[in-house]
């Protein structure tokens, strides 16, 4: 245990992975409605009607878990300081290997930005999803606008997820440990979140 430091609670981990599964189900079932190219993806669900039903159920699960996860970490993700400004200016050190790591809290500035984007996108997708739940139930112009916005934030979210998955796995080795079993290596914490590492009692 000596080499590790606790990062995520069991609650955090379970909520995150339920959310991840819901996200995957949403993408697979939503793509069938998004473009003819992906219409056959409905076969995974046993047909288009079942696919749409799966999309609606997964949507509710995603909305709830997203909100839970956001509030679980809001105190760490909603505050930006001057170090975060420096982090953004240096693109988080991702453009070069020669940059020193900028001291960061529990989440770095990019992760905080992704957390805020996620909750905003989730709320927009949830609201527009509510409007298009039955596309004949509300005013036509509003439904058309909601269909468009739902498609736009779907795309942005998928792009965000690609970056999130890359950076949390092979892009930053050791990061996914926290989400798998709750602990990260001390050298990970020192490198990626040095301010947080000191807060939780890490030495040197």
């Amino acid at each position: 245990m000596g080499n590790y430091v606790k990062r995520f609670s069991a609650f955090d981990r379970v909520v995150h992975w339920v959310l991840a599964i819901a996200f995957f189900v949403l993408v697979m079932s939503g793509l069938g409605l998004f473009a003819h190219t992906f219409f056959s993806y409905f076969d995974f669900f046993g047909g288009p009607e079942q696919g749409i039903l799966a999309h609606k159920i997964a949507g509710i699960v995603f909305l709830i878990t997203s909100i839970l996860l956001f509030f679980a970490h809001a105190k760490d993700t909603c505050r930006f300081d001057s170090d975060d400004g420096r982090w953004f200016k240096g693109f988080g050190g991702y453009l070069s290997k020669d940059q020193p790591e900028i001291p960061q809290g529990k989440f770095n500035a990019g992760q905080k930005l992704f957390a805020l984007f996620s909750i905003i996108a989730t709320v927009i997708l949830g609201l527009t999803g509510y409007v298009i739940w039955d596309p004949t139930s509300m005013e036509r112009g509003l439904t058309q606008f909601s269909l468009m916005l739902h498609g736009l934030f779907f795309i942005l979210f998928v792009m965000g997820a690609v970056v999130h998955i890359y950076l949390a796995t092979i892009g930053n080795p050791g990061t996914i440990d926290g989400m798998l079993w709750g602990q990260v290596k001390k050298i990970w914490a020192k490198k990626h979140a040095s301010k947080w590492y000191q807060e939780v009692g890490g030495k040197d």
């Binding site: 439904t143 498609g151 795309i155 080795p173």
Partner: protein, 257 residues
């Protein structure tokens, strides 16, 4: 491809509603109970079981009451909003004659076409499947006129080769509604008054949100996804991951990987 179309000369219409009845008869559509709304117009709107209807528009001309009659139906647009948004391949399709027909077996009940249509035409039946005028494509394919056209006693409803209908209609001198709108409508009108007086949009277009969704966001989105994957892969093999130094001690903000 030679498109066929409807040409509807509204000034000839006497509102006998033979077209409504003939459509119901040929397409085996049940009657629906309606309520008296104080107008001869009935039913008040297109439904899943009423694919064309006469609108009774009450106006005043030189202080005198006047009716404008309009046969409302699917416009069989060349650039069809319903087909643009329909996710199910083959549910809505264009026949060889240029009509916008549909296959109920392939309809997935998403209701998108209801919102994609600039004319608010598509409806959903009790089985949650699309229902609208399909131009009696089954009759047309076999050399017959659509049922409504066949039944029209005044020559208000004409059906035939689109270019020929336009050429003939131009001799009347009246403006043709729908000659070029949405790349050419498959149901065109000769109107005595302005289109707005008939509750028709002067310049019907695909709704802006639908255009942005299908023609901008969709292609850019697919590009965006592969772009994000590409950038991640490129980053991995050029700059590389932020490796942890397993054994060494961190030198103040060291420049290791």
């Amino acid at each position: 491809m030679k498109h066929k179309a409807f040409m509807i000369d509204t000034s000839r219409c006497i509102a006998c509603r033979s077209c409504q009845v003939a459509c119901k008869q040929w397409n085996k559509l049940p009657a629906e109970a309606t309520v008296n709304s104080g107008s001869y117009e009935n039913p008040p709107k297109l439904t899943a079981y009423l694919h064309n209807k006469i609108e009774f528009i009450e106006t005043e001309e030189n202080g005198e009451f006047k009716w404008l009659f309009l046969n409302k139906r699917c416009m069989h647009c060349s650039e069809a909003g319903c087909m643009k948004v329909c996710p199910s391949v083959g549910a809505l399709y264009r026949t060889e004659d240029g009509l916008v027909a549909y296959n109920k077996d392939k309809c997935i009940g998403c209701n998108y076409c209801v919102n994609g249509c600039p004319f608010d035409v598509p409806r959903y039946d009790a089985q949650n499947k699309i229902a609208k005028c399909h131009g009696c494509f089954d009759r047309v394919e076999n050399g017959l006129q659509p049922a409504c056209v066949k039944a029209c006693p005044t020559g208000t409803l004409l059906f035939g080769d689109r270019d020929q209908l336009i050429a003939t209609a131009k001799t009347s001198g009246k403006p043709i509604y729908g000659e070029t709108a949405l790349s050419g409508l498959g149901a065109m009108y000769l109107l005595d008054n302005k289109p707005q007086d008939y509750n028709l949009a002067a310049n019907p277009t695909i709704p802006t949100s639908i255009f942005l969704w299908k023609d901008v966001i969709k292609p850019l989105g697919i590009l965006g996804f592969w772009g994000a994957v590409g950038v991640a892969m490129l980053h991995y093999v050029t700059v590389g991951p932020k490796q942890l130094e397993e054994n060494g001690t961190e030198k103040g903000g060291g420049n290791h990987g």
